[in-house]
Amino acid sequence: MSVLPTRGRAVRALAALVVAGLTLAGCGSRVGDSGASGSPANSCVDTSGSTVKVGFLNSLSGTMAISEKTVRDSLALAAEQINASGGVLGKKLQVVSEDGASEPTIFAEKATKLISSDCVAAVFGGWTSSSRKAMLPVFEGANSLLFYPVQYEGLEASPNIFYTGATTNQQIVPALDYLKQKGVKSLFLVGSDYVFPRTANKEIKAYAKANGIEVKGEEYAPLGYTDFATIVNKVKSAGAGAVFNTLNGDSNVAFFKEYRNAGLTPTAMPVVSVSIAEEEINGIGLDNVLGQLTAWNYYQTIDSPKNAAFVQAFKAKYGQSRVTSDPMEAAYTSLFLWKAIVEKAKSFKTADVRAAAGGVSYDAPEGTVTVNGENHHIAKTALIGKVGADSLIHTEWSSGAPVEPDPFLKNYDWAKGLTG
């Protein structure tokens, strides 16, 4: 036999690729199903000793590792600080770490493991909405607790999840209010093709319709898409007043490079992004995002003693070149919020924690946050920021006071009839 490439070889190669893909997909869904159908078990959380276990579940490998590792770092810092000051209810935290590997099914599987075999009192982590949606039935089934630290598309409120990132009315709606206030008359929507951007854009379009803003175009790129020539061409020829960007991950780099190379500037057509934080700026290249806008609830530049202490502690632990971002701060805050709730409840039990959660406040680096007992989100101050020459984001506009979370946008007339 010769190694000559033949038609048969090429076809076999392609077949092998397809089979490999299908096999992986197959394994994945099987794991997820078994995780999701976990029957309600009696809690095995052991609080008799001098320690209590908590689980950290973030992607340390795979495509989301880039973002989720930063969250893991700030969770580790929070645990260290809590232990240094005596723990929770006098018990030191014993952290059980797991890698979600950027796969929703693995998140579900590891969550099951943390709850039923490690017997943790609460789990902190998750990033993508698909990872959260995969874990939701696990936590509801086992009646355990998840603290989820990332802004998301709203339209969800599980009794077993605490959402410490922003929901839409604390991030996207304020960003639209800001643009409207600045006199923007038309928008172009660019997003990654998955649940968050599509849901967010539904809300943006409803808002635009009610506020006389024209939506000149709506484009989605597959996750990880790297060639934005065509989409930027469409943006350019549409000539909108601003671009609302819900792209996720690496696509932002390609998008902003293309945007700048096509001669579009933040003064002529600003881009408002909801997934670009301090951590991403260097990867995109400062020149490419200088002067562009972001919508978050926390920036490293926030001027408060609490934030100064957080930033300093983080840099001391992980290096001076590191930056802090909104999801990192929300994760850090989530651990302290859990501590505050547990101490109010004087119990680690899910039912007690849930009953005590409403109204619990914590003086976080972003400012004071308060848990809403009804929907388990937290009241946060909305901030629009501008990327500065120091590679940090500076507050341009603030909602002034914490915005009450409204994940189902019940208090907004234009949002009637929206569904997830």
Binding site: R7, T63, A65, G224, T226, D227, N261, N282
Partner: protein, 294 residues
């Protein structure tokens, strides 16, 4: 009209990116029949070479130009190491090669994460490559023009090597009939190794170029590997000109579909076109005629 030209440019540019990504694969997969899933990670290595070069030489232009030959070397050496340690042992087992090189690609990604950190790193574009060039009817981003030129240069260079040099003749000889090549005294082992060096080196160059357009991170290669295989299979195995035509064809198709529909739909449509095309012409656009009995 202007939109039409902009899209034509976008398509050609996408084609040149695909071509750069696929050219090395056209050698290692196309000519040698090795399914190397770690090819994308050689691109990643090239991209990180550009990043490291920029750390050593402050001037973005000089470091980029220097990174091109360096990226070629880095990719090539990684390729030779992979060939000499693993692939050599499984030349007649394509499925094993696929799995093993896929494993290698995962290891390389994690290695990059450990060495350079999980976040993307920034490779600054030199000032003469940011902004756009006016070509009368439309503006072309300078970085895209540069990649187009680089892709063409790489194709010309590779064709000259294959056609004009003794090494090129040896490579073609081994591809067309390995047994016969061996009987006339060609060392197929060293030819294989050299072919793999050049193919992997081209991936390194592609990586350097891609820093101008996209992100430089551990998963850079995974974004391009499937498209690169697609180009080689559609172009016809064992032919450089097939890869060239397929790359520009697919680039233009993607840009056209994307303009009239959406990016996701366009991607699906391009796949459908390639699948239908391979039904009609399973050997791809071109194929090597051979008398061997394989």
């Amino acid at each position: 009209m202007q939109a039409l030209f902009s899209q034509l440019v976008a398509g050609l540019s996408l084609g040149s990116v695909l071509l750069l990504a696929a050219l090395g694969l056209a050698l290692t997969f196309g000519q040698m029949g090795v399914i190397n899933m770690a090819h994308g990670e050689f691109m990643m290595a090239g991209a990180y070479t550009a990043f490291v070069a920029q750390g050593l030489i402050a001037d973005a232009g000089t470091s980029l130009l220097l990174a091109i030959p360096l990226g070629f070397l880095v990719g090539g050496v990684m390729g030779v190491v992979l060939e000499a340690t693993l692939i050599r042992r499984m030349y007649h087992r394509p499925l094993d090669t696929l799995l093993v090189t896929w494993g290698v690609s995962l290891i390389l990604q994690q290695a990059a994460r450990d060495i350079f950190g999980a976040p993307n790193v920034e490779v600054r574009a030199p000032s003469w490559l940011s902004g756009s060039v006016n070509i009368g009817v439309t503006h072309v981003p300078a970085a895209r023009l540069f990649i187009l030129v680089l892709a063409v240069a790489a194709v010309v260079g590779l064709s000259l090597l294959l056609k004009m040099t003794a090494l090129g003749r040896r490579i073609r000889g081994v591809v067309q009939n390995r047994d016969l090549a061996e009987t006339v005294g060609i060392s197929t082992r060293s030819t294989d190794r050299l072919t793999f060096f050049i193919g992997s080196g081209l991936a390194g160059i592609a990586g350097v170029a891609l820093t101008l357009l996209g992100s430089t991170g551990p998963t850079l290669g995974t974004s391009y590997i499937v498209d690169a295989f697609l180009v080689v299979v559609a172009g016809g195995i064992g032919q450089i000109k097939g890869a060239v035509i397929a790359a520009f064809g697919l680039g233009l198709l993607q840009a056209t579909f994307e303009y009239s529909t959406t990016a996701s739909v366009a991607k699906v449509m391009v796949f459908v076109v390639v699948v239908v095309f391979l039904q009609i012409r399973p050997q791809g656009i071109f194929s090597v005629r051979t008398r061997s009995l394989a």
